[in-house]
Symmetry: C2
Subunit: 257 residues, 2 copies
C-alpha cells in the first residue's frame, strides 16, 4: 500500500531514500477500514495510537448537547491526526469516516523511533502539524468573517489545493464526497442555505458540482471570489532551508541554483 504521507511531506522538504523507507514502514502497523458514516474515534475515547489516513476522507467534528454539529477538520489521504495525541487522556472531539476510509494505527513508540532516527522527517512532521493548525485558523476566519458565498468558495479552493498537493486532482476536477449537509456542518450554515449559495456559485460558472465530483473551470477566478490566499498552506517548500542545496528541484529554483 503506498503511503500518501510521503507525497504530503515532500511538498515541504526533500526526503532521502532512507527517510522515505522509514515512512513507508509506518504502513506495516495495523490497518483499519471504516464504512461510510461510521465513527473512527469518539469524544471521550482515550487516544492510544496516532492515526494516518491512507485512503478516503475523514473529518473531525464537535457537537453541542442539542445536536448542533461543526466539522472542525477534514482528513484527506496523507493526513495525520496530531502525532502527539497520546499524551491526552481523553478526546475532546470525534472523528468520522466520510466515505470508506482506510487508515493505519501507529504506536507512539514507532513514531518516537522514527523521529529520533530521522531529523528531516521530524522537521517535516512539525511542518505537518503547523499547517493543520494554520488550516484551523483559516477556517476560523472563514466562519467568523467571510460571507456565505466566500466561505463555500474557499472550502472548494482549499480542498482542491490539498488534493493537488498529493496528486489527487485530475485536471480541473477532483473528488468531493461531501453532501450539502456535510458542507453546511463545515461552514456553519444550514443545508438549505448551502444549497442556495451553491446555486449562486454555479450560476456564476465558478464551480460545477455533480455526482460527487467537483470541477473548477477557472481556479484563479474562484480564488478571487473566495478571497483565497494559499499562504496558510505553506506549500512554498520552506523546508528547503533544511535541504542540501540543489537537492530538490523547487528548492533549487527558489535559491537560484
Amino acid at each position: 500500500m503506498p503511503n500518501p504521507l510521503i507525497a504530503k511531506l515532500e511538498q515541504f522538504t526533500h526526503l532521502s531514500d532512507d527517510d522515505r523507507a522509514a515512512l513507508q514502514n509506518l504502513v506495516a502497523e495495523p490497518l483499519r477500514c471504516y464504512r461510510p458514516g461510521t465513527d473512527i474515534v469518539s469524544e471521550g475515547d482515550d487516544p492510544k495510537v496516532v492515526r494516518l489516513v491512507l485512503a478516503g476522507w475523514a473529518y473531525r467534528y464537535k457537537q453541542l448537547p442539542d445536536g448542533r454539529r461543526q466539522v472542525v477538520a477534514l482528513f484527506l489521504p496523507g493526513d495525520l491526526c496530531d502525532h502527539t495525541v497520546f499524551v491526552l487522556s481523553e478526546m475532546d472531539h470525534s472523528i468520522g469516516a466520510l466515505g470508506a476510509v482506510t487508515l493505519v494505527e501507529i504506536q507512539p513508540a514507532t513514531f518516537e523511533t522514527l523521529m529520533a532516527d530521522h531529523p528531516r522527517v521530524t522537521r517535516a512532521l512539525w511542518w505537518e502539524g503547523l499547517v493543520s493548525a494554520a488550516v484551523q485558523r483559516e477556517w476560523m476566519l472563514n466562519l467568523g468573517r467571510r460571507s456565505a458565498g466566500e466561505r463555500l468558495a474557499h472550502v472548494f479552493c482549499e480542498v482542491f489545493y490539498r488534493l493537488r498537493g498529493i496528486g489527487l486532482t485530475q485536471g480541473t476536477t477532483c473528488d468531493m464526497p461531501l453532501t450539502q449537509t456535510d458542507l453546511a456542518d463545515l461552514i456553519g450554515m444550514t443545508p438549505v442555505h448551502v444549497n442556495r449559495v451553491l446555486q449562486m456559485l454555479r450560476r456564476q460558472r465558478l464551480v460545477e458540482l455533480k455526482g460527487r465530483r467537483l470541477t473548477i473551470p477557472d481556479l484563479p477566478t474562484l480564488e478571487k471570489a473566495a478571497l483565497f490566499n494559499p499562504n496558510y498552506l505553506h506549500l512554498d517548500h520552506v523546508g528547503a532551508r533544511f535541504d542540501a542545496v540543489g537537492q530538490h528541484p523547487a528548492a533549487a529554483a527558489r535559491y537560484g541554483a
Copy 2:
C-alpha cells in the same frame, strides 16, 4: 521575573525541581516589551524565534484584504506560540499586543536542548500544543454553531478558566482588557451586536463587566448558558500517567494513592 509557563504546565504534569529550573532558565533569553495596540509579529514575517508571553495579553489575528478581521487565538501569560514555528518561512497571521505585553524570545536551539534533556517537560509542551489546538477547535464550534449569546458567554467562561489555571483570578473576578470591538473580532460579530448581547447577559445577571474587569457571580449558571464543557482544556492532570505515582497531589487522588 517569574515564569508563568511553569504554572501552566503544572496543570498537566508534575515537574521536578530540575524541570522547573530549566523552564525558569528560558526567561534568561532576550525580553521584549510592547505597547498596547502594537503588532508583535506581522503576517509575512519569518519566524526565527519562539515567543512566550510573560505578562499582559496578546492575540493572533487574521485579516481579509478589505479589513475584516478575525481574532483566532488569545495569548495569556504562560502561553507559548507554537514551539516549532521556526520551521515555517513565513507567518500566515499577525500577533498583536492587547495591553502592555512582556515576552521572551527563545532561540530554537534553546528549546531543542530543553526538550532533549527534560522528557517530562517535552510531554508537557506537547500537551500545551494539543490544548491550544483544542481551543481553536472549540472556537470553531463557537463561531459556526453557537448563538450570539452562547458565544459571548463561552468566551467569558474560557478566559476565566484559563486565567484561574495560572492563578490570575481573584475570587469570582478577573481582568478583561478586551473592548467590545475586540470581542466582536473574536466571536465574529459586529461591535453593535456584541453590545446588545452583552446587555442581555447582564440583565440575566450572568456577568458583570465594567472598567476592564469581569465578574462571574455564578460560574456554573454561565457555563450552562454557554453550553461550556471544559473538557477541551484538558485540565484533568492527564499527564499524571507520566508522573511517578503519588508525586503530585491531584495525580495521587486520581490513582487512589
